[in-house]
């Protein structure tokens, strides 16, 4: 009889290792394909996997093979009209063209196209990027704590009494304290016994012994069953834990000068930032703040798609950020990141104010503040004032984006791994 084995419950994905090997080997090509696609990718789709295409010739496994040509004879089935000696024109498009046939999906067979999962995609996308100053700040700001067991102590509250350990130490104390009287007792009892067997023994000595035995027995009996000295308590300590929550502030100018295209670029940038943060933190809150002359906290839809007109006062958004942090996100519990996108317009007198707010109030509380200016024109006042901040604050960074294609390089520039 055959052995019948159900392998279905076995781990599938026996090929996972080989697949990883493949991705590892063609990392360069895949990364190239990804960064070319990132700017083309639709906004809502950014969280899914990606289809990657790399040239077949790059991944070919060469062997010695025969080429077309020479003399060859082949046998084919289904002869209908040929007779021996017939001459046939050599069919065009055959030979040499093999492997170039288009497949049904419309992709030529020249490219090796395959899907990578969202995680693989993000890995490739954010490979060798890191959150700036993450370690330094984290060590300093380990503020969230967690209660963990830490052995036993001799004092504590009654709820933490460890019964087994307490009784065990009571028992050992009783044995220890009672040892000497019991030894003495055994000696006296032996002596008494010997005395009683002796005929005409010393009556006075016998009474003395009996008294002493009684006294010893009393003493042993009086050893307390349990004593405060015996009590053992479960011990707990508070261990500081790096907090795993982050909040990301998205600040954007929505004044009349920002058109939809500029907002789209900003959105892509925010999405990248969000994805990136989710890789380092378990929970990421996002706060959307839009502003023209006044700042307002809004939801995502309104943030990206509603239009406003009017002038621009950037400091209003910074102030609102500061206030929200004070109300809802104490820097001791939260890793705070902020990114500001703007076309660079600002009411001129406001730019120095922005610089002040950032330097004095915001930056000390933030992990990182990134400013992107999306414009094709020259920089205006705000840029110059922000540049002043670069020197003294290493958690402040600014970059300039002109077109879609710049987003990803700029993003990488922001979060490039810092070489020591």
């Amino acid at each position: 009889m055959a052995q019948l084995i159900d392998r279905r419950p076995n781990a599938k994905g026996k090929s996972t290792v080989n697949r990883q090997r493949f991705l590892r080997r063609y990392k360069t090509q895949i990364k190239k394909a990804i960064s070319e696609q990132i700017s083309e990718r639709s906004i809502t789709n950014i969280d899914s996997g990606e289809s990657v295409s790399i040239p077949t010739r790059d991944i070919a496994e060469p062997t010695f093979r025969s080429d077309q040509g020479g003399v060859r004879e082949g046998v084919y089935p289904g002869n209908k009209e040929f007779a021996q000696g017939d001459k046939i024109k050599r069919p065009v498009n055959q030979g040499g063209e093999k492997g170039r046939r288009a497949s049904d999906s419309g992709e030529g067979e020249d490219d090796f196209v395959f899907e990578i999962s969202r995680d693989e995609y993000l890995d490739m996308l954010f490979d060798d990027l890191e959150l700036p100053n993450l370690q330094k700040n984290q060590l300093r700001k380990m503020t969230k704590s967690k209660t963990v067991r830490a052995g036993f102590t001799n004092d504590g509250v009654p709820t933490n009494i460890n019964v087994v350990r307490s009784l065990r130490s009571a028992l050992s104390r009783r044995i220890a304290i009672g040892a000497e009287p019991r030894r003495r007792l055994r000696e006296l009892e032996a002596e008494l016994q010997a005395l009683e067997q002796e005929v005409g023994g010393d009556e006075a000595r016998r009474r003395e012994l009996q008294q002493e035995i009684e006294a010893l027995k009393g003493r042993i009996k009086r050893i307390p069953f349990i004593d405060t000295f015996d009590l053992r308590f479960n011990n707990f300590v508070q261990r500081p834990e790096p907090t795993s929550q982050a909040v990301m502030f998205c600040l954007m100018d929505v004044s009349g000068s920002m058109d939809q295209e500029t907002k789209d670029i900003a959105k892509r940038f925010y999405i990248l930032l969000y994805l990136f943060l989710t890789r380092s933190y378990r929970d990421v809150d996002v706060v959307y703040i839009r502003h023209h002359t006044q700042a307002k906290e809004v939801d995502e839809e309104e943030f990206f798609y509603s239009r406003e007109t009017g002038g621009t006062i950037v400091s209003s958004a910074l102030e609102l950020t500061r206030d929200i942090i004070a109300q809802r996100y104490p820097p001791t519990d939260w890793n705070i990141y902020a990114a500001q996108a703007s076309d660079g317009d600002n009411w001129n007198d406001d730019s120095p104010v922005c610089e002040q707010i950032l330097a004095k109030q915001l930056l000390p509380q933030l992990r990182y503040f990134a400013y992107v200016e999306i414009t094709r024109r020259d920089h205006q006042g705000l840029w110059a004032h922000y540049e002043n901040l670069l020197q003294s604050n290493d958690n402040f960074a600014m970059q300039h984006i002109r077109e879609h294609q710049d987003i990803y390089p700029v993003f990488r520039e922001f979060f490039r791994k810092q070489t020591q």
Partner: protein, 497 residues
């Protein structure tokens, strides 16, 4: 009175066991000699995994398997490719995979086809008997996987990967066509590894010590100027034994790739026979099941439909044409042999005097045991089949502007077509004939290969790439010379250090 084993399309483990028992009994009556069977149920995803590793249940890790996996997975998901219903492994016990999506009929068909058809072929055919060791293969694969994983740990994934790339490029040229290898079990293999490492290294060093010859030795060498003395067709074997710079572990990896290539070599030489044999027997077994009332009419109709799909041969001008279907040709030939034995006509008596009218089971068994595709076709392809398939042969000479129909299915054409079709399955005529010709022992240690074109067929331009791989293994310059019909060197490619 019909008492079918099952009536529905759903399979269960109990039913599979019942069918297996019935089929086993029938197979025994027909005298099929098989290894014990091990039937494993797997999912479609596991089938994809098995595809990627050429059906090996255990394989070492390499990116190329990942590539195949990804490609298959893509095609499968887009619906471009159906999965095989079964995969069968030449091992003892003989492992057959059944997919869980199959219907009950399909599972029974696969058991008849793989667990009895292929299984008995593996056990009986002379090539498999000579080249593969069904007892040891699983052990060997386990050994290979561990060994390569260990090497990766010790020398880094990249080093091992590069080495494997180079070996894979030459895997088709790592086959001993004539010598018979010894079967080895894993434990022996393990024990031998160390010995072999030391020994091989000492041999190699010896070879190169002698490269600064004394006067007397020099005379000797003049007489024996060629190394190797005879051209070597097994390039990987030559590398394993003689490459001067390889570390012992690298030689062992070369050996593993070579061994696995060798294990699959018989399968490539017996595709038509192997599939034909399996189809022939599943057809007979299923019909016997039906005759005995073990299966329903519906079951039988479903079977006939799949069977017909499998053994159909589209004409050369059909959009579905993809060469000669080995299932169709093999099945037709096996059935035809039975017909010649049981019910021969005049033509058969003339063409096959030995087997016409003989016992068909014996004759088929003999054919299965003692041939490979090439010789099987040249021995057993009958004029009747040539007519049925309407075979014709076409000569394509690069130097002429037109193709020529050299023969068709008529009296004057039968022999030529049979000969030509047989050549089509002759691996040594289809794979480029490249041999190790010389090592420049006294000079720059460069290695010279020689390519002898068959019918002026040139090498594909991948050869430069392969030479680079060979160079990596050899460590010194590598040269590939092309000879013409007269044996004169007409071209050469080089990959210098």
């Amino acid at each position: 009175m019909r008492e079918p084993i099952s009536t529905g399309a759903e399979w269960t483990f109990e039913l599979i066991e019942q069918y297996h028992a019935e089929i086993e009994a029938i197979a025994e009556e027909y005298g099929l000699d098989t290894y014990p069977n091990q039937v494993e149920l797997i999912t479609a995803e596991q089938m994809l995994d098995a595809y990627a590793s050429i059906g090996m249940p255990i394989g070492y890790s390499h990116w190329s398997f990942g590539k195949h996996f990804i490609r298959n997975e893509q095609q499968y998901r887009r619906g471009h490719m159906g999965l095989a219903y079964e995969i069968v492994i030449n091992s003892n016990p003989c492992i057959a995979y059944l997919m869980e999506e199959n219907t009950m009929m399909m599972q029974a068909l696969v058991i008849a086809h793989a667990s009895f058809g292929h299984n008995s072929f593996f056990k009986g055919n002379y090539l498999f008997r000579a080249w593969t060791d069904a007892e040891a293969i699983i052990d060997y694969l386990v050994f290979a996987k561990r060994y390569i994983a260990e090497c990766e740990e010790r020398y880094g994934i990249e080093a091992v990967e590069n080495l494997l790339d180079s070996c894979h490029a030459l895997q088709n040229h790592g086959v001993d066509r004539y010598k018979r290898p010894y079967p080895v079990s894993m434990r022996e293999e393990k024990e031998r590894v160390k010995e072999r490492e030391a020994y091989l290294q000492s041999q190699v060093n010896d070879l190169w010590h002698k490269t600064i010859p004394q006067k007397k030795a020099r005379e000797e060498e003049a007489r024996q100027s060629n190394f190797p003395e005879e051209p070597q067709e097994n390039i990987l074997y030559f590398i394993e034994k003689n490459a001067p710079l390889l570390e012992p572990w690298q030689r062992e990896v070369v050996r593993i790739v070579r061994k696995i290539g060798q294990y699959f070599y018989p399968q490539r030489q017996t595709q038509v026979m192997n599939e034909g044999w399996a189809c022939f027997w599943h057809y007979h077994i299923m019909n016997t099941l039906y005759d005995r009332g073990k299966v329903t009419d519906g079951f039988m109709l479903e079977f006939i439909q799949s069977h017909t799909n499998v053994v159909s041969q589209p004409d050369f001008d059909s959009p579905h044409f993809g060469g000669i279907n080995p299932y169709a040709l093999g099945y037709a030939m096996m059935s035809d042999i039975k017909r010649i034995c049981v019910d021969p006509d005049e033509e058969d008596r003339k063409w096959f005097p030995d087997i016409a009218g003989s016992d068909w089971q014996r004759t088929l068994d003999f054919a299965m045991r003692n041939f490979k595709d090439e010789s099987f076709i040249s021995q057993f392809l009958s004029p009747r089949l040539i007519r049925e398939f309407k075979l014709f042969s076409i000569l394509d000479d690069e130097e002429r502007s037109e193709l020529e129909v050299t023969s068709i299915h008529n009296d004057s054409g039968y022999r030529h077509i049979r000969h030509s079709l047989s050549n089509q399955y002759n691996l040594s005529m289809n794979e480029p004939n490249i041999q190790v010709y010389n090592v420049d022992m006294r000079g720059d240690r460069s290695l010279t290969l020689r390519y002898v074109p068959h019918n002026r067929v040139p090498l594909a331009d991948t050869s430069a790439e392969v030479l680079r791989h060979l160079h990596r293994l050899w460590g010194f310059g590598v040269k590939l010379e092309t000879l013409d019909d007269e044996g004169e060197v007409i071209g050469s490619e080089e990959c210098a250090a």
